[in-house]
């Protein structure tokens, strides 16, 4: 593949369609700048600030735009909230739609056939592959990203975090907890 990709890049560059500096910049952006730390900041703010939480659930793109993040977050973003009675999971059965702007590029498993095939039919069994077991009474809601709307899960705030700063709260937010295949870290999982 290395040779084939290089050949196409060479041709497209020689024809003046592609600027190699743009390729480098795009790769660097997705390798170093855009990642789950952005989503974690948003979740931590929602945990700490009830007004922001309300605004986020109403119109996530608009609410996040007001945070003044370095990277712009695209439109049609929807935050769905986990509660003691409902656990949300995000999938894209048709391809790999994922909230890139908030979480970076999707992990390989998100794009994999097992995840895409099984999540809509047996979400609890998929959660078991991640070591997650939910209470029996919790209902699982799966969101299939079949259009240009993008979803992020607002997980439940872990217990015993009253008075924590947003920065400290953000340290509890895992990428998987924002996709719904994981839960945030508990207080005893992070260093004091």
């Amino acid at each position: 593949m290395q040779l084939r990709v290089r050949a196409l890049e060479t041709i497209l560059t020689e024809k003046g369609y592609v600027d190699p500096a743009a390729l480098d910049s795009i790769i660097e952006t997705y390798e170093t700048k855009i990642g789950p730390h952005i989503g974690a900041r948003v979740v931590a703010r929602a945990w700490a600030d009830p007004e922001f939480r309300t605004a986020l659930l109403m119109d996530a793109s608009k609410a996040i735009a007001q945070l003044g993040l370095e990277q712009k977050v695209g439109d049609h973003l929807i935050a769905v909230e986990n509660t003691p009675t409902t656990h949300n999971m995000i999938v894209c059965t048709l391809c790999s739609c994922y909230p890139w702007d908030l979480l970076g590029l999707p992990p390989a498993w998100y794009k994999s056939a097992p995840y895409r095939a099984r999540t809509v039919k047996e979400p609890r069994k998929v959660l078991a592959d991640f070591g997650v077991t939910l209470p029996d009474e919790t209902k699982v809601r799966v969101w299939d990203s079949t259009a240009e709307t993008r979803f992020i899960v607002l997980p439940m705030r872990p217990a015993a975090t009253e008075g924590w700063s947003e920065e400290k709260l953000a340290g509890l937010v895992t990428r998987d907890s924002m996709i719904g295949t994981g839960l945030p870290k508990e207080v005893n999982e992070v260093a004091a």
Partner: protein, 219 residues
């Protein structure tokens, strides 16, 4: 099209394998393939729907056995050939045999191309009020278009409830089949697991899809 890409509900793929040491790209060519797709995708020669269709139309065995970024690469190569941006002989030689043609839009360029990169907006003006309202029961149509569609097979023929109205968005089916930006109302439609999977559903599970109005009929 009823392709292998439409995977929701299929069995036999095994367990999901999370990798605690996940990296964005596992090889340099994956990163280059990704970025080439982003740059050429910004040239206005095709949009996101057309790009998806050209992955869906890979032969099923190729689709299932290729890594994610290999599929992206194969899509780009085929689209560049189809649009006359490169020739077969150039791909064989690995060099350009002549200057390029003007592109519809100036693609992303320069050493700051990645900064501020974000998704476009897909809103379209509405041609008529939304037909369905929140709380209404609807049936996903039993349709099997040969071209591109974003109505997954697992939902077709089943009854769900309109939960949200997401506005009027670019209709992917018309974009691919007719090359036009047609606005259609987009809804979140939620289905009970039992409606989709019968007695094989997990207790208490619900599944929603994002469905364009032409995918739905009153139930």
């Amino acid at each position: 099209m009823n392709g292998v890409h439409d995977m929701g509900g299929m069995d036999g793929f095994g367990h999901v394998a999370p990798d605690p040491h996940e990296v964005p790209f596992h090889d340099d060519w994956q990163a280059r393939s990704f970025a080439l797709n982003r740059v050429m995708g910004s040239a206005g020669e095709w949009n996101i729907d057309v790009g998806r269709y050209w992955i869906e139309t890979l032969p099923p065995a190729v689709y299932l056995s290729s890594s994610y970024y290999k599929k992206w690469f194969l899509r780009l190569e085929r689209l560049c050939l189809d649009r006359g941006l490169v020739s077969e002989s150039e791909l064989v030689s690995g060099h350009s045999s002549g200057p390029g043609r003007p592109l519809k839009r100036k693609p992303l360029s320069g050493p700051k191309a990645g900064v501020g990169i974000s998704r476009p907006n897909y809103d379209q003006p509405s041609r008529a009020p939304a037909v369905f309202e929140i709380g209404q029961k609807v049936r996903a149509r039993n349709i099997h278009p040969r071209s591109h569609t974003r109505l997954p097979r697992f939902a077709r023929g089943h009854i769900g409830t309109i939960e949200r109205i997401q506005g009027c968005h670019t209709f992917p089916d018309a974009m691919v089949e007719k090359g036009i930006e047609q606005g259609e109302w987009l809804y979140t439609v939620v289905f009970d697991g039992r409606e989709l999977w019968g007695p094989d559903a997990e207790d208490g599970a619900t599944v929603s899809i994002e469905a364009f109005e032409p995918y739905l009929e009153p139930a």
